[in-house]
Amino acid sequence: MNQPLRRLAAALFVAFALLILDVTYLQVIAGPRYRDDDRNPRVVASRTGKERGLILSADEQVLAQSIADPDDPQRFTRSYPEGELYAHLVGFSSVNFGDDGLELVYADKLRSKRDLTISDLLSALLGGDQRPKSIQLTIDHGLQQVAYTALGDQRGSVVAFRPDTGEVLAMVSKPSFDPNLFLSGEAIATRESLLTDPAEPLANRSTNRTYPPGSTFKVVVTAAAIELGAAGPDTLLPDPAELVLPGTVEVIRNFDRGVCADGTEVTLQTAFRRSCNTVFGFLGLQLGAEALTLEAEAFGFNQDTPFEIPVLNSFFPQPSEFTNDLPALAQSAIGQRDVRTTPFEMALVAAAIANDGIIMEPMLVSHIFDTDGQVVSETEPKLLQRAVSPSTAAIISDLMERVVASGTGTRATVPNVRVAGKTGTAETGVGPPHVWFIGFAPVEQPTIALAVLVESGGEAGENATGGSVAAPIAQEILAYWVQSNG
């Protein structure tokens, strides 16, 4: 009987030896893989409960802070006092879903360096500061609030820059969500309901959604015409009620299905002021695909724009795509067809005109400072690229001023302030149009350039136009800004 018993015992000892090999593999060889897996709650826990730095607006409003647990001063809870107002910008740092927004982009600065990772240890030995850093944004809290309120319950976005520095003054996307909910006990349920919400509150419409720019794109077409010397403000162009697209029976019509002026000829200035599609369709065909693509790219289409948070590229087709499709070229010249852009990019277009044709690199973080309030690093304004010459910018600025003075954009008028702008009403093919207003003020020395987008006509629905829906929103924002900045 002893021999089979010995064999059974031996089998068990082999099994135990296997277990030892198994745990050795699990804890040492495969260990780091499991230890660092994003789904490992320890990875997340190592980030949470720790103190993170502040996120402040330009006027020192607290947008994100870590509050010490009264029972355990070593444990912190993150909170976002302004909630929905900054959700897409500031983002969140969640146990369940990781970081997002600036909380993700600046995680390395915001977190404390006391995790005892090798690099943290090394920096401690070298006398580096272990404490979390804070960041201050370029956003003006008051302006952000005005923009948020002005959009009302409509889906859309407002992006405002200081044209001469590239500082983002306001950036709003609606509908929004309360990032504090991502830190609460109902985080998972919250995320589920936000993900399935047809209004898509999680989407950052300012930077991560593209829309046809509609007539706001006429700024780019006009820039191309003036830069090439093909036309000036007083150049006369044909004024038909319908522009027949080459090689087809399709036509481009004006918004009111009428003629632009008297039905014979019209100046570029008037066509711009009244946003006549037939004239710009014609102008686009005259300028050619090459010129339009080049000018669009000079304004930042088809390229990555350096920015703190990711921005979706705006799109204008390459010239080759128009070779056999001239109707598409005419439609692209009025910002329809395949042209797609973000509110962020259209605000840059306005800022370029406001800043003598120069696009400054957009910036959201003005500086980073440590717990003693000492500035650790500061963002300097940087030239990104030239869109048009100063003289072209001056001409277009004048055209845009007329749009607000006596054109489609009169509802953006701010008393005693010279406002320049361009409206857009982009057909979507399905449902109400997306409506736009881009502009800047004061014209003589612009301190703000913005883009307003209201998705699907907003509350006005089918009847919405850029002039009736987006311009009044811009008016509120510009009025507040000019007033509060003398």
Binding site: P4, V23, L26, G31, R39
Partner: protein, 431 residues
């Protein structure tokens, strides 16, 4: 090794537990409190009482059993305490109750020896089968003894009379009863089973008549599987049965046919039962269905990986993230907080305990005691292997407790009785 050395080691094990509890307290921000002293006293009272009973009624028993079991109990208790202090204070009561049961067993057989266990084997078989079937009692009938279901398995009986509620998992005791019955039955019949055969083609098989009781035992283990959804107990009982049959007869054909039956049973179970399929898919790729079938095992792997070589330290890891960490997954908690060093030490301690058990068996002259000690040691070793292999994803998870370490009264009681039986066998054989 002398009895006094054994006593000293038991004090050492109690000190390990007390020291561990103190570390957990410090790590979790509490000071050294009464829990430390209480733990020391309870572990010492438990194993000390067991030790005194052995000195008294089985003085020639092996001195190696208690210290090894005490060390495992101490480490397990510290992790249970770390995971859930409420469970830990209950666990202290279970320890004392288990000790009383083990001491009572030693007391009961002090004059008669293990002979009555041998004599009344059919009573044991019957009571074993009844015990296994008890959880199938209705959950809501008038009689105070009821079945009880927990996390999808029907493994419990609950005695509920007025405010008194006692729950018990009979599967844990069943392995002792099965081992006792088989040892008795096989020691008597082993000669017949091994030799008397009739020709069937070229192979020699035992008479069907003699195999009948074994078939009953086999059927019972499958009833456990099918009606109670208890993979672990079912596999353990079946393997124990095959192993003891093999040990008694030395005929590999039992291993082969057992392996075949097991394979057929496993495939059938996998095809038929959704809960078996879930276990298998969670095992094959825990990350494919991370949120559902793979969640528990994935959390266990995270714990082991995070533990690395030296562990996070007691109370400093996050093993509470693993569902059922205090029971089935207690070894993952050890792996995280004590690291590879701790998990290898624990495995080695089990290996030593199993080796002591087999040593007792191999040195026994009487075939009943030899088979009893061998069967119990095999059951202890296999149970340990199955659950550790399950939580480390070496094998699909079968859901049984880790002897001496997991939280739970039934498990502690069963394994303390197992220790008492091994001690008594070694006393009678003067090993």
């Amino acid at each position: 090794m002398t009895r006094n050395a054994e006593a000293a080691l038991l004090v050492g094990a109690a000190a390990v537990a007390a020291f561990g509890v103190a570390l957990v307290n410090l790590a979790q921000g509490d000071g050294i409190d009464a829990q430390v002293a209480l733990t020391f006293v309870v572990i010492l009272a438990s194993f000390g009482g067991f030790h005194i009973a052995i000195r008294q009624w089985s003085p020639d028993a092996s001195p190696y059993l208690l210290p090894l079991a005490a060390l495992l109990t101490a480490v397990g208790f510290v992790e249970v305490y770390r995971l859930n202090r409420g469970l830990a204070s209950l666990q202290r009561w279970w320890l004392l109750i288990a000790t009383v049961m083990a001491v009572s067993l030693l007391l009961a057989v002090r004059r008669t020896g293990l002979a009555p266990l041998r004599r009344y084997r059919y009573v044991f078989l019957l009571s074993g089968i009844l015990l296994l079937l008890l959880p199938l009692l209705p959950t809501d009938w008038g009689f105070p003894l009821r079945g009880f279901e927990q996390s999808g398995s029907r493994l419990w009986i609950r005695f509920a009379a007025g405010p008194l509620r006692l729950q018990f998992q009979p599967g844990e005791i069943a392995k002792l009863i099965l081992a006792t019955f088989l040892a008795s039955y096989l020691s008597e019949r082993q000669a017949i089973l091994a030799v008397q055969t009739r020709p069937l083609r070229r192979y020699r098989l035992p008479e069907g008549r003699q195999l009948a009781p074994l078939v009953i035992a086999w059927a019972a283990s499958f009833v456990v599987l099918i009606y109670q959804r208890d993979l672990g107990a079912s596999l353990l009982l079946f393997a124990l049965f095959i192993a003891m049959l093999y040990a008694a007869t030395g005929r590999a054909v039992y291993l082969a046919s057992g392996g075949f039956l097991f394979g057929a049973g496993a495939v059938t179970a996998w095809l038929v039962f959704a809960h078996v399929q879930r276990r298998v898919s969670g095992w094959l790729d825990p990350f494919a269905d991370f949120a559902d079938t793979g969640y528990q095992i994935a959390q266990s792997l995270f714990a082991f990986g995070s533990g690395s070589l030296s562990g996070s330290g007691l109370g400093l890891g996050a093993p509470d993230q693993i569902p059922n960490a205090a029971t089935d997954f207690i070894f993952a908690a050890v792996g995280e907080e004590l690291g590879l060093a701790g998990s290898v030490a624990v495995i080695a301690t089990y290996a030593l305990l199993v080796a002591v058990g087999f040593g007792i068996s191999l040195h026994s002259r009487d075939s009943f005691r030899k088979l009893l000690a061998g069967g119990l040691s095999f059951a202890l070793g296999l149970q340990t292997f199955l659950i550790i292999a399950g939580v480390t994803r070496l094998l699909p998870l079968t859901g049984i407790t880790l002897p001496f370490m997991s939280y739970g009264g039934s498990s502690l009681a069963a394994n303390f009785l197992l220790l008492a039986l091994l001690a008594r066998v070694s006393h009678e054989e003067r090993v």
